[in-house]
Amino acid sequence: MRKANSRALLAAVVLAAGAVGGGVLGTGSSAGVGGVRVEAAPQLAPMADGCDLAASLPPRQDVGAKIRKIRERGVLVVGVDQSAYHWGFRNPQTGRIEGFDIDLAHAIAKSVLGDPSKVLLKTISTAHRIDAVKNGEVDVITRAMTITCDRKKDVAFSTPYFRTSQRVVAPKSAHVKSVDEALKGKRVCAALNSSSDAELKANPRGAAQVRLVDNQLDCLVLMQLGEIDSTLSDSSLAAAQVAQDPQVELAGEPFQPAYMGVAMNQADTDLIAWVNQVLVDWRSGGGWRASYDTWLKDSMGASPDPYLP
């Protein structure tokens, strides 16, 4: 793993190292999420609100109830996006859903079912992600989902697979220099129940009006039609917007560093541990890098280093 520069990141490294190296943990399927974390990484310094963003179950591939269920069904149900360019988007030419997150979904299916094509991609709205996991509508969510303490109360996350932050998208013609300038007195757009929505609620920075939509891409439509002035989104999705419209730009500085994780039901401990092992293999086997090069290199830069958790 690469050099980490945040406490939470360090925690993840420690956790992963401890789990892989020592094998001191209980079986993934029987131990609770929180219990494992505390037991495995006593040196973790909890964040201010008592939650560790990078913590998850140790990687392990034991067949538990959930894995058995998925294998009986023969297909992995994955919650995805169809509007996140390069992440999870419907290719308008072929009608197929593709992207970095979709590659990850296929990697999980290959590991669980032996066949990467055994996935049922279910598009879900940003706002519905938590409920979809809790209700069991989907097995996993790979949908550029930011790990937050609030969400961890409702769902379980894998270890991080991508580093992200909050970014503002604004028209180039606005010549915005900073985040505050981009939001103050402006009509700001964000996806409903996204981390950007939460950020705007916590600190609106003087936004004149906040418009919440089903999907961050709807914000770009509204911006092009002049109905909003700026959009707040995850840096990954903000970059995806800029990649689709050369007349908008990432304005101001990135803030609120965070991680993306695979969301799962808290009860599916065997699946959580399994996915964490998939993530370890995906990175060490070059899959992560290959997907980055395929989808993200052009819009996010040749070096993936800033994004590796």
Binding site: V75, V77, Q82, S83, A84, Y85, F89, R90, N91, P92, Q93, T94, G95, I97, L120, L121, K122, T123, I124, S125, H128, D214, N215, L217, D218, L220, V221, L225, Q244, D245
Partner: protein, 450 residues
């Protein structure tokens, strides 16, 4: 009916009680003399005949105008409004289908979308140009006229962006579809409501019973009868020819008005049953089916993002499956079928059943995780065995049945305005004849006093 008696009695009593002075007194005294009584009677009879004539002409003319409106304006406008709604809703479903088919979109799908827009735009300008649309209808027409180019622009933007391989195109299509579903279609529905209210009003006016004319006619007839009886007794003469002629003319006019009213209202009722009630039923079914078809397509576009569309499908097909007694149920159509519409409605019913079956198959595939199979079963181009083509076939037959109904509507309602014009003219002429004959007849009696 008491009037004639009063005329006769009035002279005596009024003069006796108040022999007083002034112009009014002079008139009263003059009226109290036998020639005066005759003059008064003559004036009253002529006035009653003329009152009948004027009210019959006025009421028949009003009804004639309304009956003409039913055929030339509110009837067609009512159908045009329903057609505008259908083209708009179909355009949205077709745009969504084109998006779903992606690179497989056929020229036919593209053409259907363009035809829908062309139809909507033609009918909108036609309806706006027809004078005399109600104010509320004009308002919805104006709004739709402004929104249609905006919608078309958004859909073309979506297409252009999708061609570059960007998901932003899909977001534009969602935006366009929201504009259609949440703003334009509700406006089109209000237009339909306004036009059908106008049609109802025209039917009411055209079918209004001419009470004033009938009443004044009865009054005139009674006055004639009563006065002739009085004269008959006083003079020992058998009949006054002028008054007899006046009575005959009045009877004729009254009979014409009565029978004519009954006949016209019968035709109106018939045309209403076909042109309004049965076409209404057809329109309801067609629009509900179209909305269900749109929901079916949009559900595939949303790809599980919301169950809004499956819910809408369930609601609409439940409504269509209602018992024949409920307007808007599909089975009601076959119940009301006659010679002309039997065949298309039976065909439509068969296609409709097939559509539901195919939809169920596609939904089963979708639920089992085979999204591609669901899309193929729903609208694979060039495949006759899809839900889409079954729906199209059903709607084509419904449209055919609607044409038959419209033709018989025109048959039943057409020419009624002319009938009413003739009726107005006849009532007017006969009333004038009656008034003249009454004045002349009494004039001859009057001459005997000179």
């Amino acid at each position: 009916m008491a009037t004639p008696a009063v005329i006769e009695a009035q002279g005596g009593t009024a003069a006796a009680v108040r022999p007083g002075g002034g112009a009014l007194g002079r008139v009263r005294r003059a009226a109290a003399t036998p020639p005066g009584r005759l003059r008064t009677a003559s004036a009253v009879l002529a006035l009653l005949a003329l009152l009948f004539g004027v009210s019959a002409v006025w009421q028949s003319a009003t009804r004639s105008a309304a009956a003409g409106q039913v055929v030339t304006r509110s009837g067609p406008l009512n159908q045009d409004a329903a057609e505008i709604y259908r083209s708009l809703a179909d355009a949205d479903a077709t745009a969504a289908a084109g998006f779903l088919l992606a690179g497989d979109e056929t020229p036919e799908v593209r053409k259907r979308y363009q035809d829908d827009l062309a139809t909507a735009s033609r009918l909108l300008s036609q309806a706006a140009a027809r004078s005399g649309s109600s104010a509320s209808a004009q308002q919805w027409l104006t709004e739709l006229n402004g929104q249609l180019p905006r919608y078309a622009g958004l859909v073309e933007t979506a297409r252009a962006i999708s061609r570059q391989g960007l998901p932003l195109g899909g977001a534009y299509l969602r935006y366009a579809s929201d504009l259609m579903q949440n703003t334009m279609l509700p406006n089109a529905q209000k237009l339909v409501d306004a036009e059908s209210a106008q049609l109802d009003a025209d039917y009411r006016t055209a079918g209004a019973v001419p009470w004033l004319a009938l009443l004044s006619g009865l009054l005139a007839l009674a006055a004639l009868a009563r006065y002739q009886r009085v004269l008959f007794r006083r003079t020992n003469r058998v009949f006054n020819p002028g008054l007899v002629a006046a009575s005959v003319a009045m009877l004729l006019a009254f009979g014409w008005l009565g029978v004519g009213t009954l006949a016209v209202n019968g035709y109106l009722h018939d045309s209403r049953y076909r042109g309004v009630d049965r076409l209404d039923d057809l329109d309801r079914v067609r629009i509900a089916a179209l909305q269900a078809h749109t929901a079916e397509t949009l559900n595939l576009v949303s790809r599980g993002a919301t169950d809004k569309y499956t819910q809408r499908w369930d609601e609409l097909t439940k409504k269509l499956a209602d018992s024949p007694r409920i307007p808007g149920s599909e089975s009601r159509l076959s119940m009301a079928a006659d010679e002309g519409t039997k065949k298309p409605l039976a065909d439509a019913d068969r296609w409709y059943g097939q559509w539901l079956d195919l939809h169920k198959n596609a939904a089963t595939q979708d639920a089992a995780g085979d999204y591609d199979a669901a899309v193929q079963l729903t609208l694979k181009p060039g495949n006759a065995d899809t839900a889409d083509s079954a729906y199209r076939a059903a709607d084509e037959q419904w449209a055919r049945a609607a044409q038959v109904e419209q033709a018989s509507f025109r048959g039943a309602a057409g020419g009624l305005d002319d009938l009413l014009v003739v009726q107005a003219a006849a009532a007017g002429v006969l009333a004038a004849v009656a008034a003249t004959a009454a004045v002349r007849g009494i004039g001859r009696r009057l001459a005997e006093y000179r």
